[in-house]
């Protein structure tokens, strides 16, 4: 769950004082002028050094060795590509200007430097940062430079910024794939059977025991006997998202693993928002899963599982049969994978044989690098044919494979399945 991070109390940090670059240049001018005046016995060179020496005379000697600072964030959980802010409070050194510059960590971008003017004993500022890639990472370092009014003295303080749990940016998905057969749990999808839902299903003759409030008066008047309206039952759907983390190919930032996580996060967010029960299976070196559930806390658990490296149920690498406990009967299986791991492909075939409705979102956007030789070209051709064969074989057994480039909305590749109910076949 999101929680505030940072220090509770301001921490005393050592300040390293020194000459500013401006002071060093003035000192060079003054010393060079004086040396030349002595060597050449020309007093005008001593006069040349005078302005610089006068400016350096205002050098401050009363410089505190420590300053109190506190760094905090509203939440330790951020989303990639979404701006977050770090609050810094400085207590002390009121006579000095403070310049706050963030040295961002890799894949983090920082906003503009912030300058806090002198005069107040307690000063604070918010620094803007944007983590550009998912994962648990440090935001970087904060360099605070204190300078006096003449910019001759500089004191530097280095502060480590807090680490954050950066979640993948959920892919955009507005529609949802709904199966024809839904488990008998109350939900929001109209089912084929009649029930207590709100969607009109038809008209039938009244039988004793029916609720009178559902009598359809126009039909009753027409037919001469009591008729009543029937409504479709509203059921929930079980969705299990399989995220294949076995391979990470392609350009960093849009690699297959990036797309897997963004797509899985998008599906989890969309289906939980539609009150469906969503589970997650991470297919990596180890197999970890969380069974279907609902609610914000469950969403948070699923997204945290995507970030976790290892944990949970761990079995041999040669596993081709996904655990029954993670797969409730009649669940829709949405797989995000580059389809490079033969074990996962075998597991998908097994799922289909067990009667699950499976849709694969292929996120492979890269090819192995091949040379210009004839043999390399032939290798590349064979690799492509092999990939096509894998996708074709899945399609043939009733597992549709759609390709997602990671740029467009997930609605585009899933459109053929979101526009109508997908018939669950056994």
């Amino acid at each position: 769950m999101a929680s505030p991070v940072g220090q509770e109390e301001p921490r005393q940090l050592p300040v390293r004082w020194g000459l500013s670059a401006h002071a060093r240049r003035l000192l060079t001018l003054a010393l060079a002028g004086l040396v030349i005046a002595i060597v050449t016995r020309r007093p005008e060179f001593a006069g040349l050094a005078a302005p610089a020496l006068l400016l350096l005379a205002t050098w401050r000697t009363d410089r505190p060795r420590q300053v109190a600072a506190r760094v905090s964030m509203a939440s330790s959980v951020v989303v990639e590509g979404v701006q977050t802010s770090v609050r810094i409070e400085i207590h002390g050194l009121a006579d000095f200007w403070a310049c706050l510059v963030v040295e961002p960590a890799e894949t983090v971008t920082a906003g503009a430097a912030v300058i806090l003017p002198s005069g107040k004993p307690d000063r604070s500022a918010s620094l803007r940062l944007v983590p550009m890639r998912w994962g648990r990472r440090s935001l970087g370092l904060l360099m605070i430079t204190f300078s006096d009014r003449y910019r001759l003295t500089e004191g530097r303080v280095l502060v480590r910024l807090p680490s954050v749990n950066c979640r993948p940016r959920p892919a955009q998905l507005t529609g949802s794939v709904v199966l024809s057969r839904l488990p008998s749990r109350l939900g929001e999808h109209p089912a084929r059977v009649t029930g207590e839902g709100g969607e009109f299903a038809g008209v039938r003759e009244f039988v004793p025991g029916d609720r009178q409030r559902r009598i359809n008066w126009p039909a009753t008047t027409r037919q001469g006997t009591l008729h009543l309206s029937t409504f479709a039952a509203e059921r929930t759907q079980n969705l299990v998202v399989i995220a294949d983390e076995t391979a990470d190919v392609g350009e960093p930032g849009s690699s297959s693993l990036d797309l897997v996580l963004r797509g899985a996060a998008g599906a989890v967010t969309r289906y939980l928002a539609a009150r469906d029960r969503v589970g997650l299976i991470i297919h990596a070196r180890s197999l970890t899963w969380i069974g279907p559930g609902q609610g914000q806390r469950h969403a948070s658990r699923l997204l945290d599982l995507m970030m976790a490296s290892h944990g949970g149920w761990d079995r041999a690498v040669s596993l081709t049969r996904l655990p029954r406990a993670a797969l409730p009967p009649g669940a829709l299986i949405l797989v995000f994978s580059p389809l490079l791991d033969p074990l996962l492909i075998e597991a998908l075939r097994d799922l289909r044989e067990r009667g699950f409705s499976v849709i694969v979102v292929d996120v492979l956007n890269a090819e192995p690098h091949h040379g210009r030789s004839t043999l390399s070209k032939l290798t590349a051709q064979i690799w492509r044919l092999e990939q096509e064969a894998i996708r074709f074989s899945l399609t043939q057994i009733g597992v549709p494979v759609v390709h997602w480039d990671g740029v467009s909305s997930l609605d585009e590749p899933l459109a053929p399945y979101t526009r109508r109910v997908v018939v669950a076949r056994r």
């Binding site: 401006h22 240049r25 060079a32 006069g47 040349l48 302005p51 020496l53 205002t58 009363d62 009014r149």
Partner: protein, 205 residues
């Protein structure tokens, strides 16, 4: 604002506007200082050409240093070998103290010429101006930050004038001119003290 909602003005890696004016002022003052101290080139002693070359190279690189620090991003992502080599060169340029080197070379050029005292005083003003222009461009601060130092700068100018007068004294014949110069020197010294002492006392405020 541009149609996409972004400010079209060029900005540096800190997100602030690039200090074009500061860099241009520093470049002009550097060129002016070098030219002032080197002319006439034929009138210099041995080593004038070497000093001139050092001054020009250091001056150009000090301006390049300002431009690099202001404009080039510090991203550490992967680059091609050409970009990595360019990054190494940029790091070398930004690491070395080119402004200090140019200052020393320019003073050496001036010392190698038998220039009158007022000539050196003009160079002093140009060099101080150059150093402040570099400082303002480097810190991206406005010229208003110099307001607090005006009294000290005025005092420094007075002391420079005093030094010029002191160097002229031996060549002056005894008489009213020399007496007037001595009186003027005393007045300047008093004014300088009046300007410096309050600034020195109030340096912690």
């Amino acid at each position: 604002m541009s149609p996409r909602g972004q400010d079209p003005t060029a900005r540096n890696r800190s997100g602030n506007r690039l200090p074009f004016a500061g860099i241009a002022a520093a470049a002009l003052l550097a060129a002016g200082s070098i030219w002032w101290s080197a002319a006439p080139l034929a009138g210099g002693s041995a080593g004038t050409r070497l000093s001139l070359i050092v001054a020009i190279v250091a001056g150009v690189l000090s301006i390049a240093q300002l431009a690099i620090v202001a404009a080039v991003p510090r991203d550490t992502d992967a680059y091609s070998p050409t970009e990595q080599a360019a990054r190494r060169v940029a790091e070398l340029i930004t690491t070395l103290p080119w402004a200090e080197l140019m200052t020393v070379a320019t003073l050496a050029l001036e010392a190698l010429h038998a220039a009158p005292a007022w000539h050196t005083a003009v160079l002093a003003f140009a060099l101080i101006g150059y150093l402040f222009a570099v400082h303002l461009a480097e810190t991206e601060a406005g010229a208003s930050v110099l307001r607090t130092q005006l009294s000290l700068l005025a005092a420094g100018a007075g002391l420079t004038a005093l030094a010029v007068g002191a160097s002229a004294l031996p060549s002056l014949p005894a008489g009213p001119a020399a007496a007037l110069l001595r009186v003027a020197a005393i007045v300047i010294a008093v004014v300088v003290a009046g300007l410096v002492v309050p600034a020195w006392l109030g340096r912690s405020h």
